[in-house]
Amino acid sequence: MQLAVIALVALLVLGLLAAGVVVVRHRSKVVAAPRQRRVSGPPTPAAPAVTQPRTSPHVAPAPSEPDAQAGVEVLAEGPVAEPAAPAPVVELVEPFEVAPALRPSFRDRLSKARDAIAGSFRAILARTSIDADTWDELEEALIKADVGVELTMELLDTLRLRAKDESITEPDRLLDALKAQLKARLAGADRSLRLEAGAPNVWLFVGVNGVGKTTTIGKVGHQQAEQGRSVLMAAGDTFRAAAAEQLETWAERAGADFVRGAEGGDPSSVVFDGVQRAAARGVELVLADTAGRLHTKSNLMDELTKVRRVAAREPGRLTEVLLVLDAVTGQNGLVQAQQFTQATELTGVVLTKLDGSAKGGIVLAIEARLGIPVKLVGLGEAIGDLVEFDPDEFVDALFD
């Protein structure tokens, strides 16, 4: 019977693995795996064709201060300000101040969503004393926000101790304590986007299919360009039909440089070309798109490891590897973060589509378990709707 054989052979192989016959090597050593998921057409690993930016008139890379010292100024005002030295954390405080008036708040955006789902918390607050139902409702709220069973239990256990210690008896104070506990957990993480002076910075965007990587890059690029930074977008998604066109549209809008490869080509080579070109033209920031991939496909994850390696190579400097995560994602989000960080050493998470009714609680588990901070949040379709993550507003929104 086949199944038995498969199982036995698999077990045998596993046994061998476990016995250390084949030392589990660092993933990056195994990039040989050929890309196998092409649907159509022969693989065309030809060097990517670099398209001239169609918008050359206004591309003119950051006319005012494209030189290296501009970095200092840039650091002070930009959302992505962080120099190589770890010192000036203080300066990171005011991100996205470019258009403060336009900056959407979680609350405004989310109120739409919140109307749709009547707050389960009104019920809690209406009570006069804390009883089993109160705890159930807290648990329910956390689970419904996709925080996950395990972390929810952990949070509530801590809260129970605290409630006892501080002899909390009113439901609303209990809720406040829970919020405070969550905020404390989220506080302290460095959520700034790193941008170093000198070599072209590379920000790599990874994630599963359909989370909004390309759109996120478009918005980030747009914002960065608005702040006077020169930007190049590299269409590393050579797989999905028309992904490059989609990014190109964004690049045109943002007045950014754009590099693409042949459809089905090697994404690493697109990123490589992007970095080369950026270095040659003195572009400060390369935003590298990658094809959406399920974290379970080991050959595609290997491909991503290679992209990362290429992006980190001189003259480029890989300063951010961002996992783009759809707020609607459930418990699988944690597994995704685990796998992607194994392949590419993530530096942060971008939580998209938070303007829907989903609350994105899985990022709490990601921060708690993997220590990967959420850096940006998508609150709508407009360019300005991609904002820096604000832990306090996020936590408040969880319980609205």
């Binding site: 019977m1 199944l3 199982a7 084949v22 739409k112 996950g148 359909g210 190109e248 459930g330 009714s357």
Partner: protein
């Protein structure tokens, strides 16, 4: 992290031996475990509750005293309930008497509508129909282009707004929808698949737009496309879309990942309409009618036996595999056989994928970084051996080891380790094949295997077999396969025993 539900149940039922019926408290405890399992699988809390109640009813009357394994009995009941919930009537696509048959695709951004539209077009073609794809997503840049590319691949025409309108970003999807039926008639297409833009369920304006599209085209089928990775919010989304569009079914996408897909249960429960199709891969062909029993096992973390069997059948010669299994259990399994089996295994896809589908494999093992290049190393070592060495590795002395290491680009230690492990595993298998299961306590290998098998597994003694002389206390794989085949619900159930 999550342990297989069966493992948890083992704990509960260990205390229940010889007690027959479950007490109220026992049931509560079981239900709590089920609750956690379902929540971890992203089933919506509300749906979990109603599901729990149904399982309670099923369990209360159950006499478990005679059950060989009460844990399995309970899992069976849960599984059955899941299959019932997910399944029910299946979608039967019938075609309009006056063509075209109109299919409307709706869903959140990024759920996979456009790709699924392409897949659906291919599916209709395979049913002998002539579909027309309609690009009514004028919002996302290059969405139309994406649909056109897909359409080229399946050789189906696309109807949309004129290019300059698309580029200007001012196109009206409702207008496109309005015109598409006439276009279908003109081109003689009998199925129209309308791909709409992704939208948030709470976006009143866009929901109104899709309602108008629906009104203008009067679709025969309106499908909600749902990502298998969706969390608790799936219910809100499904409710909102159902209220606006009155759905006819659901299409579940990205099932090729490792998400357990509990969202499907939530959506099914809320909408009350069947899950019509499932998309299980990136290739356009990876798309088929939905099988509730497979997803039920997956939601419970029990692997996907049927898919595994199907895959195995595609690559394995039945008789060959049987012979190999027999050899394995009788201790006649050589490195040559191993090499052959390994190659078959490789054809089934990455090892991690196979393990993922295998029920009862503990999560740690499933999550372990298994790189298929390790297989290549093992293969290289074996291939560097002579036939005689493969048949009897004991002849390998230091000099031969050195040669093999050189030939395979490894080192003598690795060769030695491979041979040593192979012998040990082989001895172990032989013992499985034999009658007793007197495991020598404490040997390194045994411990290792225990770990891999999870708790319950080693308990029963000899088990998995092909057929023939070997005693199989709690599972017969062949029978299981037959049952799965016969689509008898619950067939995939006896999983705890299967976890090799």
């Amino acid at each position: 992290m999550f342990e297989a539900l069966s493992d948890r149940f083992e704990g509960i039922f260990g205390r229940l031996r010889n007690r027959g019926r479950l007490s109220e408290d026992d049931i509560d405890e079981v239900l709590r475990e089920i609750r956690v399992a379902l929540l971890e699988a992203d089933v919506n809390l509300r749906v979990v509750r109603s599901f729990q109640n149904r399982v309670r009813e099923a369990l209360v009357g159950e006499d478990l005293s005679r059950a060989l394994n009460p844990a399995q009995q309970v899992i069976k009941a849960v599984h059955q309930e899941l299959v019932n919930t997910l399944g029910g009537e299946t979608v039967r696509i019938t075609f309009a008497t006056r063509p075209p048959t109109v299919v409307l695709m709706a869903g959140l951004q990024g759920s996979g509508k456009t790709t699924t539209s392409g897949k659906l077009a291919r599916w209709f073609k395979s049913q002998g129909r002539n579909p027309l794809l309609v690009a009514a997503d004028l919002q996302r840049p290059a969405a139309v282009e994406q649909l056109r590319t897909l359409a080229r691949q399946v050789d189906v025409p696309v109807f949309s707004a004129p290019d300059e309108v698309i580029r200007s970003g001012t196109g009206d999807p409702v207008e496109v929808a309005r015109q598409c039926l006439a276009e279908a008639t003109r081109l003689g297409r009998d199925v129209v698949i309308i791909d709409t833009a992704g939208r948030l369920a709470i976006d009143a304006e866009l929901m109104e737009q899709v309602r108008q599209i629906s009104e203008a085209t009067q679709p025969h089928y309106t499908f909600l496309v749902v990502d298998a990775m969706t969390g608790q919010d799936a219910v809100n989304v499904a409710e909102a879309f159902h209220a606006t569009l009155s759905l006819d079914g659901v299409i579940l996408t990205k099932l090729d990942g490792d998400a357990r897909g509990g969202a499907a249960l939530s959506v099914k429960e809320v909408v009350g309409k069947p899950i019509a199709f499932a998309s299980t891969g990136e290739k356009l062909a990876d798309f088929d009618l939905f099988h509730p029993d497979r997803l039920a096992g997956r939601i419970l973390g029990m692997g996907d036996v049927l898919t595994l069997i199907e895959k195995a059948e595609q690559v394995y010669e039945h008789s060959e595999a049987e012979a190999a299994a027999e050899a394995l259990l009788e201790g006649r399994f050589t490195l040559e056989d191993f090499l052959q089996q390994m190659q078959q295994l490789k054809k089934m896809g990455p090892l991690s994928g196979i393990l993922g589908m295998m029920p009862g494999v503990p999560k740690e093992v499933r999550d372990a970084q298994i790189d298929d290049s390790h297989l290549a190393r093992i293969e290289a070592i074996i291939r560097s051996m002579t036939t005689a060495e493969r048949a009897d590795p004991t002849v390998i002395d230091a000099s031969r080891r050195g040669r093999i290491a050189k030939g395979s680009g490894t080192n003598p230690q690795e060769v030695q380790a491979l041979v040593g492990q192979f012998n040990e595993v082989q001895r172990l298998m032989k013992r499985f094949g034999g009658f007793g299961s007197k495991r020598s306590k404490g040997s390194r290998k045994d411990r290792k295997n225990d770990k891999k098998k999870g708790k319950g597994a080693t308990r029963g003694g000899g088990r998995v077999t092909t057929r023939g002389p070997v005693a199989v206390p709690n599972i017969n794989l062949e029978e299981l396969a037959e049952k799965e085949k016969a689509k008898r619900p619950g067939g995939g159930l006896k999983l705890p025993g299967l976890d090799l």
